[in-house]
Symmetry: C2
Subunit: 235 residues, 2 copies
């Protein structure tokens, strides 16, 4: 990570801990606080403007965006349920975890060859004992060489980053709405045909390798997704 990226993360921490509230301290104070150049401070704040965390008002300073729904899930971030609900009790039921040869559909989902080894996995995540998501996931074993029940009961992303030392880079998420089937509806205590909120996601390492494809069905009554949109992306 570059210097300005590290400082951006430290600025974020200070915003989260409410060291800074309405606006950031002036540039000279930040230069002093972080013992770095004006240019680095400016690049760091530019980055947080890009992330939608700050905005600039000419002649007045750099302001902190105020977000309302504390409980909404930020869809622009890659975070598992465990990380999203740090203040809650997250329990994971691994319904199945098996190593299979990729069929045509799986191969296409993971952008790999038919017959290649793939971990196929179904988990139900409970937040404070309420069923929150049903995850149907595929992991490319050629990239993630091992997955076991104990890992799947916790955070697979943490395992990949901390134990396998691989860097998760980015994800494409497609959000859509349909109708629950009998099996999934029962998990949530709903009726077959009730609304289904589903996120289809592909997750890549920083080097662009696709290692995970998931279909995550959310408990529609318990889920609000948050997205911060920026207009300079209006290309």
């Amino acid at each position: 990570m570059k210097k300005y990226q590290i400082i951006a993360e430290q600025l974020m921490e200070n915003i989260k801990s409410e060291k800074y509230k309405i606006k950031l301290p002036i540039e000279d104070e930040l230069v002093e606080e972080f013992q770095t150049s004006k240019n680095t401070i400016r690049n760091a704040t530019d980055l947080l403007v890009e992330w939608g965390m700050l905005y600039r008002v000419q002649g007045s300073g750099v302001y902190i965006r105020q977000f309302e729904h504390e409980k909404a899930i930020n869809a622009s971030m890659i975070r598992g349920v465990s990380q999203e609900f740090k203040a809650s009790t997250v329990r994971t039921e691994v319904v199945y975890l098996e190593l299979v040869d990729a069929d045509e559909v799986m191969a296409s989902e993971l952008d790999t060859e038919i017959g290649n080894p793939v971990y196929r996995l179904k988990r139900i995540r409970y937040v404070d004992d309420e069923p929150f998501t049903i995850e149907y996931s595929l992991y490319n074993k050629e990239i993630v060489p091992y997955l076991g029940i104990e890992i799947a009961q916790r955070s697979i992303y943490d395992y990949i980053e901390h134990d396998l030392k691989m860097r998760i880079g980015f994800a494409d998420k497609y959000i859509s709405v349909g109708h629950l089937n009998q099996e999934d509806a029962e998990v949530f205590g709903y009726q077959k045909g009730d609304p289904m909120l589903v996120i289809n996601e592909k997750v890549f390492l920083t080097n662009g390798m696709l290692f995970n494809s998931s279909r995550v069905i959310h408990n529609y009554q318990e889920t609000t997704l948050f997205v911060s949109a920026n207009n300079h992306r209006r290309l």
Copy 2:
């Protein structure tokens, strides 16, 4: 806009027009093409990495993200229906547009005072003659001084940017799922109680002023939302 931001937009144009395909040209070629410094090129590509359009592979170069669902709506951008579906015929029915005094709910929605003037608006947007969204919107008249039927039949955002010369900055979007009521269901040709995909959004000028609050109900069978997530936002 800064130099590197302008170049970032030009790079995006070249990606969209497929002048660059799998990866970007090497830095030296871009320096030559844009007649600028290496540093500016690097800041521009950094920005597009942030936006989730590019990714770097060490020792190999800068790659272009390949997106699958051409028809999905990018929820990380502020774009009206008109801009999102340039290739299609977009028709707008203005159901009502009225100037009212803000009641308690409207005042709270727009973060203004009770009694202040507010435009209240309902529109149905059709894409290729299919009903696509039902929008319930509020605009703060103290910021957007005039709205008329003719403007509302086209793109209100274009009017604000091009005619009023104000700069739209960012938006908070909250995506959730519920059940359609009778009135909205009829617009889409669905049944009361069928799934409803709703985006509640607040839209701000670049100076942080909230000018628009909307509740946009999407035709759930016709909508896929796309979000590009980045892991360096994992804070």
